[in-house]
Symmetry: C2
Subunit: 516 residues, 2 copies
């Protein structure tokens, strides 16, 4: 639709009361209004609504997840299906599986929700002294969890986060650079809204990627520029190739604004090496784009070690004076992942480095329109970055719970990885980090034909068949992006037991047999 | 910027590994990259960022609020200023003042955060049995507050909300029509994102209005069409005049998608009569636009009674069969306002009536990209709509707390209203509802000249002078929209005591004297 030639009145338009009409004062007079049937019956239709939203895809909670909910409801009514439970391996939601929350975190959250508990006669019988102390400190700083905080987040909590980053990286961090958010997804939405300025805005996204990025860019009417990760090299980043994608992008006239890097990677589970990270930063320094480092899985590392973009940037700035000072970096973290796993609490933050002050003021305005991130999620973020330390009363239990969750995740990733290695026509990279495996599946040509006949992507067809026969819900690779002609699916390794793995194996054999 | 002629590769683009380049494997080789200084140094600048965001205004946390924070910090360092505390009358944030949370709500939230409390030996000494029961029920339905819920919200909570609406209106409500959200602001953002499709999209907004609406429409690149409320008639809606605004809007070629109505009104404190509401619905039925009914202040009523758009719509549908069946309505509610006042907990919902299923599917996709609203905010919403009932152990305390908060709000609105009535050059409509007064101020011509000299709006200048000399932070009328040449400010009546009122009176006298 073409916009009209001139805008109507501004918001401060002069009020011109209607000289004739007056408010109607009884129901009877309403009948004078005839509602014409020749007009369209609905204001908001698929054709008239936001066409960018319509184009966006978000497979993690897409058709398969909706079908899984239907099947769960049918099971709940007592219907007999080929399985007795739905396993939601489509989404990294550990506490919907058997993962328990960290006790200390929940104690402090409970106390801050109901401050009279802190001074009750029973408090010391129920709560360890460090939980009581922490709740007192946080309430002194915050006031009430029921009050809006500063839009950027509680200053005390931002200082805690800056301390955590300083300890993690060995380089100082600044509380003013931290923006709390209602989960990392919310931080990404604010960030992309700030930087995108129409279809000429190009943002590099990995393939495969977590579809938050492609979906948000589509909604923002910006252009996602895919760079394929190298499956043959443990889903690594081929820097030379990425450089050529950048050159092509610039040659086509795009304003290349940012590059998204997910490390550890969702969905592939791979981790970047320090050199790969520094190479990406060098590309950013040379070509002048913001790095969006999605580091929400930074503690979900099962082989090797996590290296933050922030630390690598500071090393480069130290080692090559002046060459990297202008680099812009956004580093994301979340309370939904790691050993915290508190998805429903919506905590997280973004650290913003090198962004111009005027732009930060605009971002601040954007986040203040939604007033503030949920305060309890901010508290949980504080607890995540400032957990009990050796010597604290709660340390032993914290350590035990943390280690148990960690080992369980590591074991489950291994056990699922082994199962995939042994399945015919399935291959899978070793699990380094995150909460997912992303195996390649070789689908029989007859299965591909059958999928096409149904107007479905072949891997979507495969995953739907898996759901219908096993109750296990995974996400087809097409939801994340993959090389043409290759097929994958993403599954979490959060579910307990071997049973669901055996159901996948049996389904897969039967599927191959059926389409032989 | 003109978009390039053709998009680059799709997300499923074929991966072409670079034939020559290989990942660099040592820091030393990084120096081969020369970071050219002729390129722009920053990717994200005020000029290259989202220009729609840049244009958006949000005065509630704008220049004055930022200055108030600076002054608060200076007081905290011991600096002597003309006042000893900052009063944030710029934002409806009751628990940042002296409003206490409802005990029952916080007990249940505390128990759901730390479930071992429920079965502890001390539980019955600390918590009433109905709080323990409610926590058990909610946890049985939700699992863990740390797990993502359904994107639309927990089904049990949506059923509770539907029951509440049915009881409130006397017409049945459907849980499938309810979408939980992280505060009503978040629901508004999702809704406007769904319906806006470029600058030809027109959305009617009241003047004055809560700037969430104008800001979000600007960010969405849609067009806000102002309709002035009638200050001379208690800020009522002049339906004949609104009809003429609609005709002009359609004549100019806009696709009129929605009309925002804030009732009780922020910032004016006025309430619509049942007839006014039915007239608005009739305009929507005739002209085919969505009504966005912001009803977050529905229990903040100090004179008269609240009438919901939903109930009025159902009455019209009953009384004029067929004429109103197609009407589209979004009704918003929140846990941040009313006697709950839990702003930091981010709870709320929108009920969507008459929207096409295909559009709802798109909205569902949008909300699932941010996964789910914070689960504790959902619980608080359940508690708000399903509080203790007569006969329940917690009822007496709940009733007492609720009534105390209510009377205090009513008293403070009266006392501030009286003060404004007696101030020279100030006039103010009676406070009917919400949390705000929006007085008109007649500014001396010399003050207006001084403001223009400083390149400020006259009411912004007045409010800044008030802040600097009293520590009371209010929001200038220009932040909400007002008739040209008229000046207002919005203040909450949440602050305790007479002291800040007296400071405003003294400032005002001095301001008039200074610019006489």
């Amino acid at each position: 639709m073409v916009p009209p030639p001139a805008p109507t009145a501004s918001v401060t338009a002069v009020y011109t009361p209607s000289p004739v009409a007056s408010p109607v004062s009884s129901n009877a007079t309403l009948s004078r209004h005839s509602v014409s049937s020749s007009k369209p019956r609905k204001a908001i239709t698929l054709e008239s609504m936001n066409q960018n939203l319509r184009k966006a895809d978000y497979a993690v909670r897409g058709r398969l997840a909706i079908r899984a909910e239907e099947l769960r409801d049918r099971l709940a009514t007592g219907e007999t299906l080929p399985f007795t439970e739905i396993v939601n391996a489509n989404i990294g939601n550990p506490q919907a599986m058997d993962q328990q929350p960290i006790t200390f975190f929940r104690q402090v959250l409970s106390l801050t929700q109901y401050p009279p508990l802190i001074d009750s006669d029973h408090a010391s019988a129920i709560f360890p002294p460090d939980a009581l102390d922490r709740a007192r400190i946080l309430l002194r700083e915050i006031g009430s969890v029921g009050a809006y905080s500063q839009s950027q987040g509680v200053p005390y909590i931002r200082r805690s986060i800056a301390n955590f980053i300083s300890e993690r990286d060995g380089f100082p961090a600044n509380p003013d650079d931290i923006y709390l958010a209602g989960g990392a997804s919310s931080a990404v939405a604010s960030l992309l809204c700030t930087i995108c300025n129409g279809p000429s805005t190009g943002v590099l996204i990995p393939v495969p990627q977590y579809p938050l990025y492609s979906a948000t860019l589509t909604i923002e009417n910006a252009t996602a520029i895919p760079y394929q990760l190298d499956e043959s090299n443990q889903w690594g980043a081929d820097i030379g190739y990425i450089g050529s994608v950048i050159r092509q992008t610039l040659a086509k006239g795009y304003a290349l604004k940012a590059m998204v890097v997910i490390n550890p990677c969702n969905p592939t589970g791979s981790c970047l090496t320090p050199d790969e990270i520094k190479e990406v930063i060098t590309l950013a320094a040379e070509n002048c784009f913001l790095i969006i480092a999605d580091e929400v899985y930074q503690t979900n590392i099962y082989r090797g070690q996590f290296h933050s973009f922030k630390k690598m940037l500071r090393e480069l700035q130290r080692d090559f004076p002046g060459k990297y000072d202008h680099v812009e970096l956004a580093s994301l973290h979340s309370t939904s992942k790691g050993m915290v796993g508190e998805c429903g609490q919506r905590g997280g933050y973004v650290e913003l480095i090198g962004i111009e002050t005027e732009v930060l003021e605009q971002l601040y305005k954007l986040v203040s329109i939604s007033l503030c991130p949920v305060v309890t999620g901010q508290i949980l973020t504080e607890l995540m970055v400032n957990p009990p330390r050796p010597g604290d009363p709660s340390y032993a239990l914290y350590k035990q719970e943390y280690d148990t969750i960690y080992s369980r995740l590591a074991e489950r990733s291994e056990s699922l990885f082994k199962a995939f290695k042994e399945m015919e026509g399935v291959s899978c990279q070793e699990p380094f980090g995150a909460m997912y495996l992303f195996p390649t599946i070789t689908l029989p040509p007859k299965a591909i034909l059958e999928a096409r006949r149904r107007n479905e992507e072949p891997d979507e067809f495969y995953c739907m068949e898996m759901l219908e026969s096993t109750g296990v819900c995974v996400v087809p690779g097409s939801g994340f992006g993959q090389k043409d002609g290759s097929y994958h699916f993403r599954t979490t390794f959060l579910a307990p037991g071997e049973d669901y793995v055996n159901r996948i194996i049996a389904f897969h054999q039967e599927f191959l047999r059926r389409f032989k």
